[in-house]
Each structure stands twice: as C-alpha cells, then as structure tokens.
Symmetry: D2
C-alpha cells in the first residue's frame, strides 16, 4: 500500500524523515471520530451522486468493520500507516477492494483532520464538564455539611477576619462554575464543521454540508474554506480553559496542603488519598494535592506550546499544525485524571474545627471594632488608626485586643466604649456580614442554593 501522496515522488522517503513526519502514534486515538466522519462523508458523497448506493454501502460496511477492529483492539497498524487517516483507508481498501479508493473523493486530509479533531474536542469538553460538575458538587456537599463552622479567613496568609468553612470551600465552587462555562463556550466555538473545505479552496462536489454538520453534531458550517483548514482557535481555547482550570486546582491544592500541615492542622486527609515515604516511616504526604498543584505547569506549557506553533504561520494549512493534537490530548488526560481524585480527596477529608478555633482570636475582630467606632461617628480612617495602635499594643504586651487594660486603651487614643470592645465575638462578626456574598449563616444559605442552582442549570449538570 503506497502512501496517500505517493504518485509524484520518485525517491523513497528517508526513514528518519518518515518517522518524524508520522502522527499515527498519537492521532490513532481519533479513530472513532475519523471513521464516523468518513461514514458521514460516504453518505454525503452518495447523496451528491458521486457514489452509487452499492459503493456507499460497501464502504460504510467496511468502515464499520474497521471501527470494530479498533474497538476490540484487533486493528493491526502497519509501518506505512503515517496517520490515522491513512491507516483507516489502507485497512478499508484491504477489506473492500479498490472501491475504498473512492472514499477520499472531494476531501483532503486538511479538512478531514480538522473535522476529526473538532469532534474529539467537543466530546472531551462534555466529559470535562461532567467531571468539573462532579467535583464542584462534592465541594458543595462538604460546604453544606459545615456551612457555619467558624474558621479564620486569611489575606496575605495572615489571619484577617472570621469566615466559615462553608464560605471558604464555596469560594472554590464559583471558579469551577466559570471553568465549566468556559468549556461550554469552547464546545460552542468548536462546533463549526470544516468538512467540505477540501485542501483549502472548497470541495468541487455538491456535498450537503448542512446535513453533514447535523449528522456529526456540529451547530454551524465554516464560511471560508481557507480559514476552515487552518483555524485552530478552538484548540487554543481548549488549552486556555484547561490552563485556567489548572490554576484553580493549583490554588485549591496549595490551600489544602497548607491546611493539612502539622502547623495549621485544619484538615485530615484520608489514608486513601495520602502516600508514605520510602525513607521516613512516619510520613503521610498529600501527593495528589501536590500533583494538582504541579500539573498546572504542563497545562500552561501545553497552551504555550500551541500558541508558539501557530505564531507567524502563513495561511493556510502548514504541516506545523500537526503539532496541535498532543498538547490538547495531554491537557485533557491530565484534567480527567486529576478531577476525580480531587473529588475523592475532598469527599473523604475531615475538618478540625478546634484547630481553626485556636486562630480565631480577637485580633481578627479588629475590623469589627473599627466598624463599631464608625457607628459612634468616628471617621473610618481615624478608627482604623486607633485600632491599629491597639493591635500593636496587644502584640507588644502579649495580650489580645479584648484583654487590653483601660490604660492601654487610653494610651492608644481609644475613645469608644470599652464594653463594646469586650463584647466582640466571632459569632457577632460573622452575623453582621449578611450582605450578598458575605459569611453570615443567612447569606451562606443563599449562596449555597445559588451554587446548587448554578451547577444544575448549566449544561452538563
């Protein structure tokens, strides 16, 4: 079986060049998309009068058999199969004879591979949306079960104000909702059929492209054949959505790694999601979280990779575009491996409210104290300065805000009611933050419902 493009060449392709050029090793995973695309194309050729009823049936049956061979693991590639398209057509022709050579009528590998790849991306977006929804759902459930457990909220990794475990965990659900929306938008961007664009100038046959689009799950058909064969925006968008999700997972992982330290002690991971050390018998390491953090590297690297490849390419199809698939496959595989593990890890982890409580000291109520002074008519900026001096005094005297003596208060210029200071509590602090998005119980209940609604109403919910 000669290469698909063999006629013009006199010399034999250099072996190393052929190996460099071949893409079967990675694009073979498009076999299902390729064969489904070819079956649709066969039917379209028949509708267009290019293939007879019999030819169409023969080719379709042959393709179905090739698909089955792939699905059952019995397909045997040969060394000349430079890509999945060649492999499928080669095997088809072995099965059905010369009529198999009619399959490629009116199309090019340029529009064919773009079609295959888009179908794969659309289907993978669906799979990722399901996994994101699953992880977010586990987080919502965990938040719901601990909605009002007080914990210290941090900015700059310094204790700032009281929040709750539920508020903290829900704060990671919204990024996931945005991630899911992005993948849905990627799916929509991808759903533009390139098939029928030929190599670059369009097909010469009266193919019904609209029928092809519907059959293969596309929403639109491309308007420019030259653009269609070279457009890889959808792949960039997929890689960007993946990188951004990776950033979110890295932030979640970083926070949980910190909370899982001996020093914070806010959470305990289940043994099933921890690993040990080959040297230190006592270790219990949060490996999955570290990988979730570290794998943001490859997700960003994959995005960079395709951006660089596309930079400065002249129109229309250039072989450089063959480099589009591996980063997309790798990002998808990475996320599909990470997301369920993180869901399991969060589902099984325990929180330690007591450890959280140890940090919830009166310093975290400093803003509340300043707000109290504001209510007494003192401009916020002045109130801030007074409470700042109180905090400094407390640190210096190794007291807390609420145990400062009246002398201390006077020295700091505190003109408020000392009783107000004494009566500051975490509970009151939480309760007064009842505006939308805040950490009071009522606000959090509303947020919880909003999160649940967001997860169930978005596509793929």
């Amino acid at each position: 079986m000669p290469k698909l493009w063999g006629g013009r060449m006199k010399g034999k392709a250099d072996q190393a060049m052929f190996a460099l050029n071949a893409s079967y090793a990675f694009d073979c995973r498009l076999y299902s998309q390729d064969i489904r695309g070819s079956i649709a194309w066969t039917q379209a050729l028949h509708q267009a009068g290019v293939l007879s009823e019999g030819e169409s049936s023969t080719i379709t049956d042959g393709l179905a058999q090739v698909l089955e061979e792939f699905q059952t693991g019995t397909f045997i590639p040969v060394s000349e199969d430079e890509d999945i398209h060649t492999a499928v057509e080669r095997r088809l022709t072995e099965l059905v004879g010369a009529v198999g050579g009619k399959l490629h009528t009116g199309r090019s590998r340029n529009d064919q591979v773009a079609t295959d790849f888009r179908i794969w991306v659309m289907e993978t977006c669906d799979g990722l949306c399901r996994q994101i929804t699953n992880l977010a759902g586990v987080m919502v459930d965990h938040a719901a079960g601990n909605l009002s457990v007080p914990m210290p909220g941090y900015t700059h990794l310094q204790p700032a104000q009281p929040v709750t475990w539920g508020a903290w965990l829900l704060a990671f659900v919204w990024p996931l909702c945005r991630d899911r929306k992005r993948f849905e938008q990627v799916r929509a961007s991808t759903a533009v059929l390139p098939l029928g664009s030929g190599a670059l100038a369009g097909t010469t046959y009266p193919i019904n492209r609209t029928w092809l689009a519907e059959t293969l799950g596309f929403k639109h058909i491309s308007q420019s054949s030259l653009d269609a064969v070279s457009d890889r925006d959808f792949a960039l968008e997929f890689l960007f959505a993946s990188a951004t999700l990776g950033i979110h997972l890295s932030k979640l992982a970083e926070s949980l790694i910190l909370f899982n330290t001996r020093e914070f002690g806010f959470i305990t991971l289940d043994d099933a999601f921890s690993t040990g050390s080959s040297l230190m018998p006592q270790k219990k390491n949060p490996d999955p979280l570290e990988l979730a953090r570290g794998k943001s590297g490859r997700l960003i690297g994959n995005l960079t990779s395709l951006l660089v490849t596309l930079k400065g390419l002249p129109s229309t199809y250039d072989k450089d575009l063959q480099e589009d698939k591996e980063p997309v496959f790798d990002s998808a595989d990475t996320l599909l491996a990470l997301l369920p593990v993180l869901a399991g890890l969060i589902h099984t982890m325990k929180i330690n409210p007591e450890a959280m409580g140890r940090i919830l000291q009166s310093e975290l109520l400093a803003t509340d104290l300043a707000d109290d002074l504001v209510e007494e008519g003192i401009p916020f900026r002045e109130a801030h300065a007074v409470v700042g001096r109180l905090a400094a005094a407390a640190e210096q005297k190794e007291k807390t805000l609420s145990t400062l003596s009246e002398t201390d208060l006077e020295a700091a210029g505190y003109r408020g009611n000392p009783a107000a200071l004494r009566s500051l509590t975490v509970e009151k602090s939480l309760a007064r933050r009842s505006n939308i998005g805040g950490v009071s119980s009522s606000a959090l209940s509303i947020q919880l419902e909003a999160a649940r609604a967001a997860l169930s109403t978005q596509r793929g919910g």
Copy 2:
C-alpha cells in the same frame, strides 16, 4: 498624611521596600474608574444610612474635583501615594477635610481595586471590539473590491489550487470575528461586581450591591466575597483573547510580508506604511507588519506572566495579585496601537494581479484533473496517483501539465481524455468550487455578505 495602613506599624517602612510595593506608577491610569467607583460607593453609603446627605455631597463633590484634576493634568502625586486609591483619598481629604476619612468605610482596597480593574477591562474590551471591527471592515472592503481576482492558493507555502484575492483576504476576517466575540465574552465575564466584598468576608453595612452594579455598569454581583477579591479569571481571559488576536495578526503579517517580497510581489505597500534603512538607501521595509508579527511575543508573554503569578496562590487576596495590571495594560496598549496601523496599511496597499497570475500555472489544476478522472469512474486514489506521475513528468521535462505530450500521458498511465487535460483553466477551477465556503464567485458573494452581516450584528458593530 500617613499611609492608609499606618496605625499598627512602629518602624518606618524601608525606602526600597516602599518603592517595590508601590503601584501608583502604573495603577494611576485607573483614576477615572477609581473615582467613579468611589462616588458610587459614597452614594451607596448614604443610601445605607452610613453617610449623611451633607457628608455624601461633600465627598462626592471632592471626588469630582479630584477627577477633574486628573483629567486636566493638574493632579500632583506625592511620594506617599503608594497606589491610586491612596492618592485619591489623600487628595480628597486635603480638599474636604476629615470627612474624607469616611469614604473607605465598609470597603477594602481588595474589593475596590478589583472593581476598578474590572471597569477598566470592560471599557477596554469595548474599545478593542471597535478597532477589530474597523480592521475587519477594511479587509472586507478590500476583499469586495478584488473578490474574484485569481491568485494561487498555498498549502505548505507551495502553490496548491487557484483561489482569489477576495477569498484569501476574507479568510482573515473570520478569525477577527472570533476575536471580537471572545472580547465580548470577556466583557461579559468581567461584568460581575466585587464591590461589597470587603477584604474577604463581605461588608458589614447594608449596601445595595445591586444598585451599585447597575450604576457602575455591571450585569451581576459576586456571590462569594472570598472568591470576589481574588478572582482574576477575567484578566486571564482578556490576556488570552489578546494573545489569540496577536496570533491572528502575526499570521496576517507573515503572509503580507511574504506577498510584499520582491520574489512574490503580490502587494505593494504605501510609503506611509513602510520605512527605510539607515544604511541602505534603496530599502523599503514593511516595519509595521514585522512589528505586528513580533509583538505576538509580548502578548503571549503577558498571558504567561499572569498565569504564573496566579499559580499556586493560596486563597484569598495575596499581594502577588498586584502583578495583574501591567500585563493587561501592556496587551491592551499593544493591540490598540497595532490595529489602526494595520487597518491603514491594508486600506492603502495595492495588489498586483499580474504577479499572482504568473504562479497560476496548470500544476495548480492537478486536483481538478484528478476530479475529472473521478467523473470518468476512476477511484480517486488511483486518479491521484496518475496525476502525480504526470506532475513528476512535467517537472522533469520542464513542461506544464497542459503541455505534456500524448506520449507523456501514456507513459504516466493517463487513461482520461487528453482534451479534458488541455481544457483545464483557472476560471473553471474556481467556478466549480461553488459549495458554501468555496472560491467561486457565487460562493464568495455569499461569504462576503455573511462577513458583513457578522460585523454589523455583533455587539459593537
């Protein structure tokens, strides 16, 4: 005037540390957004009963004056102005006295800066959409004026099949349409109001956040205060949309640079968009195109920059987030400088149909010849092989496909009608590609209308 956060600190900030920390040098360009946000906040505080009518008026008037100082270039920053927020509040207090210290009641720089930045991004998306539309419009006009001028189409930068100048240029309009849609989606993602989230736990005052959102041009309000102060997805999306637009511009530029070479000679740039050489008097260089290609580097670099900064940050606000603005500003400035220059360059360039015609030789009709054989019932794969041998023979004998002798045809196994081969023309080749997206006159007219419709119906058209 002390720093906004000065109360707690006993020592003086190290000078180098202060310089490192300060952001006024770049965030001063948010002055308008910051002041408009503060005016709305003042009104909201008044509505919430925190500020009296008089206090609200005084502060609002003071802020209006500060805004005017910025707009007229009379605002004088002082060395303690570490950021735009500090500068505005400092100047306000100078103007209106201690009541200015009430402005910051109930909010934090964390929610304030996120609000300012989002307003800026939304407004900049609008500006970019206008510029993209303008460039695309110029391209559509240029395409319309040369819709059916035949030119060689390339794949792998080798002449492949006849296309037209209109088809070629329209192929760059669709990516711009996608770019504009992306910026519209970024705008929509950005239109979520963080104000009212405080430092991280929400505000304690009964602020009407929905009113604030409407007043400041937001579509939604954030649901989680902890997420709101740290979410920079919108900035990532902006940088990604910019990088992708940059990729498209780099491809357009690369193609035009090639077409502008002595060797291709397809286009002639206007002198107004060319530059000379300091050494070589005869040179006429396509500098703007080279910059359009080269500046894809900074657009991708800016995206990488923020992705890296965000990677692995613990929730919620960390100072690292201050690094979010400069890359966004730089990408916006870059594109707002490039887009009008490219529009001018394309508007004024001339095409040279004769040079294009020199490449439009019969080799580009090889696919058509194969299609002709297919119409005679020969499987495409076999037709492809025959025509491939003809092409090789033509190259070897320094003939063209249409000047091969009958002996040559026989030697290559050509069983078709020699007359068919002789009658191949560029015109017929173009005309038969009449399917949607193809390069026939009729298909291109439809595409042209579709492009015009896309540009006028999208937002910002």
Copy 3:
C-alpha cells in the same frame, strides 16, 4: 531634520505607524552605551583613514556634549527622534554641523543597536552579580548566626527530619551561587562585538574590530556578519537566568511567607519590611515576599515573550527584533528592585527557635529509629515497615513515638531495644548526619566555609 532613512520615501509616514515604530521611549536608556559606542566608532573611522583628525575630534567632542546633556537631564528629544541612535545623531549634527553626517559611515543601525544592547547587558550582569552576592552574603551571615538552631525539616510540607536553621538557610545560598554563575556565563556569551557587521554583509572600511572590541569591553569579535546582526541568544540567556533566579526567589519567598504565618511562627519580619491593611487595623503583611513570589510571573513572561518573537524569523535582521529590549529591561529592573529588599528583609528578620522546637517531636526521629534497627541487622525495608506501624499506632493513640508502651511496640512487631527508642533525641539525630552536605554541626561548619569561599572566589565577589 529628516529621518535617517528618509531619502527613498515619497509619502509621509503615517502618524500612527510612526508611533508604533518608534523605540525612543524605551531605548533612550541606552544613551550612554550608544554614545560610547559612537565615540569608539569615530576613532576607528579615523584610524581607518575615513575621518580626518579634525573631523574625529569634532565628532568626539560633540558626542561628549550629547552624553553630558543626557547625564544632566538637559537633553531634549524631538518628535522625529524615532530611536536613541537617531536622537543622538540628530543632536550631534545640530551641535557640530554637517560633519556629524559622517558618523554613520560604514555602520548600520543593525550592528549599532546590537552593540549598544550587548554593552548594556554586560554591565547589568555585573550589577546583578553584585546584588546576588550581597543577598547571598546576608543569608550566609544569618545562617552563621544560627547555624545549629534545631528546626523541623520538611518534605511535602510535612515534618520529616530534624535540620537546623543554618542548614535551611544555606540551602538557598547555593541556588544563588548558581544564579550568579549563570549571569557570569551570560556576560561571557554577550561579550562578542557585532560592530563592523554593517547591515548584514560586513563593513567596507578597514576598521580595526579587535581594537573596537577591547575599547568597548568585549572579549571576542563576531565571525559572521549575518549572524551578528540577528543573534539575540545573549538576551534569551539573560532572560532565562533572570527567570531562574526569579524561581529561586519565589521559593524562598513562599517558604518565608509560610514560616511567617501565625501557625508556623518561625520568623518575625521587621516592621520596615511589612505593610498593613487599609481595612484591617491589626494586619501585618509580608508584601515584599509576596511580590518576590508573584514577580516570577513577569520574569517568566519576559522570557516567553522574546522566545516567541524570535520563533520562525527568517534571517537576518527583521524589525521584530526591536521587541528584544523591553523584556530585558523589565527583568533587570524587577530583580534590581527585589534583591536589595530581600537582603534587608532577611537581615532584619528574627527567628523563633521555640516555635520550631514545638514541631520537633519524636515522629521526626522515625528514620533514625529505622536506622537503629538496621544497625541491629534488620533489612531497611523491614525496619521501615515496623516503624511505620509504630507511627500509625502513635497517631491513633495520640502518643508520640517515644511514649508508646511496650505493648504498643510488640503489637507493631518492634523487635529492637525499647531503650534505643527512648533515647532518640534531636541532637543525636543531627549529629549523626555528619557526611558532606549533612546537618551536623561539623558538616555545617564546612558547608558555611564552602559557601563563603564560593561567594568570594566567583567573579564579582
């Protein structure tokens, strides 16, 4: 004054195009390098017989005056100064008349800018090496003062084995030594003179390039004029060395941010290197460390930026190369701002040995216990398993390794001497790690001297 390249062009340059094209806004900081290079070039032209003694003196004096204008801030750019080279030559000609037009004889902006930029990079490498050495020196001093203070060592952010503060801090000195070496290598790579390469084909005058190289501080002269005008490897190397240093600083910063949390409490930052909160009066935030961590983003982004710009450029000089300077300037500025602040921060921070001690519990001696069992002849893998079971039992019973009862020991299959277990101490654990690189006092003393030697013997020490 016309543009340097004005003769050939009939039309006026488009204003927006000119603005896009101009580089004076950023390359003006090369004024010193540019003028020194021009003075040397003037002398070389004189030596080559191209300029008379008088012309050479006139031009040299004029250039000296332009330099002084820059240094004293009295240089006034005009709108036609598209770059620093144009600005200098324009001003020179104003000062000395038409003879100034002889300066550019035999050279091109292509070799001129490459020369200027290389001088700047070499000088900046020197400055960075000094700052790196300074920071490393501060760290060595801090380590020396606390060499054997026990602290918990971490892997996976879990307490692993006892180390010391000195060992911990010295572990960050070696990366800095590698960074310094990298900048020295960058300097060496940069020290290849391009001047004399003309636009691309070499100069036609008998310029003594070796003399030029020595005069301007270069070690070698370029061997290929075509390579010399387009080679930007040195800029990539500079950006890579900067990004890698940025990674090291981000890791140092991350660790210190953790150690500075309320929960770890291992260090206390001086007020001079902390900042407060605009809302929360009690906050004391480690902003400089967060910026050191976050600015790794721009350092990596800058590297990406130039890599992308260079990708796929055809030889030799293309205007895209103008994009080489801003990322290099920004990376240099970033590091020159960060390094002294970090040195000050480390110099003034306090460590809290007591807090470190609280984590130094017997679990961290588990490896030592396993090693003890190995000494009794038990294979390490079996010893590891036994001690692992002991650790699990201790956690379950809320005991420590050293307070497990003999029944507990038996249940875990511990066959060693209970006394050995009881006698485990942090001190013994540290002391037995006396191999090179280890954490015993003796090993650390040797390491300290090695670090001091490394800092003093490398260039720039």
Copy 4:
C-alpha cells in the same frame, strides 16, 4: 510486595489516586541509570561497612540481572510498581530474597531520583552535542562547496546587499556552536552528585560520596543536602538550551521554506525529504522543515511547563517535582528526531544560483554607491539621501540604478561620477567586504576555517 512506603497507612490507596501518582510509565526509561546508581550505592554501603561482602555481591548480581531483563525486554512490571525505583527493588527482592531490602539503606527516593535523572541528562547532553556537531558539519560542508556563490542578502525580507550562499549558511553554524556550548555547560551544571543527601538531611552512614561521584561520572558532590534533593536548575537549563536550539532550527527552517517556494526557488529539496498531498497530486511539501519550525512550540512549552511547576514551591522536596521528567524527555526526543533529518535534508538539497542571481540587481548595490560618494568626501548621511532619491527614481521609471540616465542622476542631486555608478558590480561589492566576518572570498575562507576549528575543538567534536 507492598509499596515502599506502606507501613504507616491503614487504608488502601484509592485506585485513581494511585494511577495519578505513579510515574513508572515514563520514568521506566531511567532503568539503566537507576540500576547503575544502585550498584554503586551497594558498593558504597559495603565500603561503609553497612553491607557484608556477600550481601554486596548478592545485591549487585541481582541488580545486574534486573538490568539485563530491562535490556532484553523481558522485565515484566506489575501494577504495584509505582515508579522505576520500586520496580527495580521489587524485582531485586524477588530474585535475591530479603537481603534486597537492604539496598535502600541510608538513601531516599529523593536523592536517588535526582541522581538517576542527572545521569540521564548528562548522557543526553552528550548525544545532543554529537547531533548538533553533525548537523553543523553538514552545513559547513555545504557552505564550503558553495562558498562564493552570490546570492541576495535580506533584511526585513527585502533584498539588501549581495552576500553568498556560503556566508548565508555559515551564519547558521555559529548559533549551533553556541547551542553546543550551552549543552556542554548544562552537562557541567548537572555533574553534581546528590546521592548521599537522603530525604533532605543527609545520610547517616559514612558513605564515600567522592568515590560515588567518580564512579557515576559526576565532577562534584552537592554541598547542601536540602538543596540537593530539590535542585532542578539543571533540568531548567536543559530545557532552555533545547528551546534556544529550537528557535535556531525554526529560523533555519523558515528561511529554507521560503527559499524552497516556487517564488524564491533558491533551493530544491530531495524527494526523500519532501512529502506529497493526499488531495493535490502535484504537491511536494517541505514537511520536515515545517515540523522543525512548528516543534519550537513544544520545546518552549516544555520549558514553560517546568518553570511553572517550580514556581512558588516551598523547600525542599515536594511531589510536584515528579513533573520534571516528561518535559525533559520530550524535548530531548524532539531534538534527537529533528537534528538528523535536518542534516539529511541539507546534505541532499540543491541550490539554484541562477534564481539567486535574478534578484541580484543593482538596487542591492545602493550602499556601495553611497560608500563611493563618501570616498569622494560627501558625508554619509547626505550620500544616503542622494542614493535614496536615485532608488525612488529607478522604481518610478522602472529602471535599475545602473540604467538611470544622466538627467535622472542630476534630478536626484547626484554629484558623483556617473562612471562609478555604471561600474558597480556584485563581485566588487562582495570583494570590498573583506573585514572579519564579511562576505568577501578571503573573509569567508577565514570564517570557514574558524567554524571548522570551533566544531573540532569543542568537546564532543
């Protein structure tokens, strides 16, 4: 066989977590380095008195057998083999019994994997240096065979000045020399032995690390155990050297792709290094060059990937570091596939001097003409302006510089000798650029020898 770290854990590892965590799929290619490292470690343990002569022999023999199994493809991994270290120790213990459990005494996977990886990188640097030298050698030979064939030199992709094919191709040899030097520096940076650092605190056994270093091919031993287990600078350096080489290959490829177009026609690729089209029978595509250009994407992406992974990691070993290997392997594989193909492609390509000559028109001699005027005493800047006007006139009148009439010359203000203008030739233009690095025959002969010397004297030559 339990996992190496099994003792402490009560629960079973989650299956998905285990799959995520396992690295055998990619680190199995370190089998040779791992086993050689373990054999050396076994001997070092024996020297240190930890293993008896017999134990040492047994383990060494067992390891040799495991190595053979890998080399002959008979090694059978089991599902519990989470990494290559586990796999080797598991198999060793199967072969030699419980004594195999003594191998891991005194070391950790942390220092073990760092050692394995460094050996692999050193060996791969050697392989890459050989391939770079080979490619550069092929280029030098091609240049030598066409040293003085005139061709147009380009800047901004516009014809600028005459150069020669030899000069053009040699300009790509010097970047390769720099690349090779970089890989040699990477090798030197990598040659620091981490083994003996344990998990992070050093080994407790009197291992002779200097002997280990010599045995395993290292030049130095690490000075800080904490640094040694986490230092991945060598991997970053490898990825940077690879990315920079990738940039150079992308530039070479871009230029050759252009020269191989129908329009330039400067080179003809051998059929063995071209491919055809599945649709267009006449096509002959430069796929290997396009891949060489496009694969710069993954080389830069891999660098980004590891930079991001390392960003912000706390000291010392974190699981994130497991992400270090795949990008390094991929960059190495990419380059080792590309380099020989490019060598073959260049070795077999033909140049077409006639096509080059068609562009070598008198415009390219404009600088020479200006230089002639300078020799007559006219300041260069004025000469430049005059010749610029001549070039404009020539373009307008569709003449060349040398066919302009005397009237034309006068109109442009040309005061030089018309004969000088008429006598401009490419040959004279080349000959006068005889300074070092220039394009005269004599300068090129010197450059050629310098390039040959550089290739033969650098290590690996």
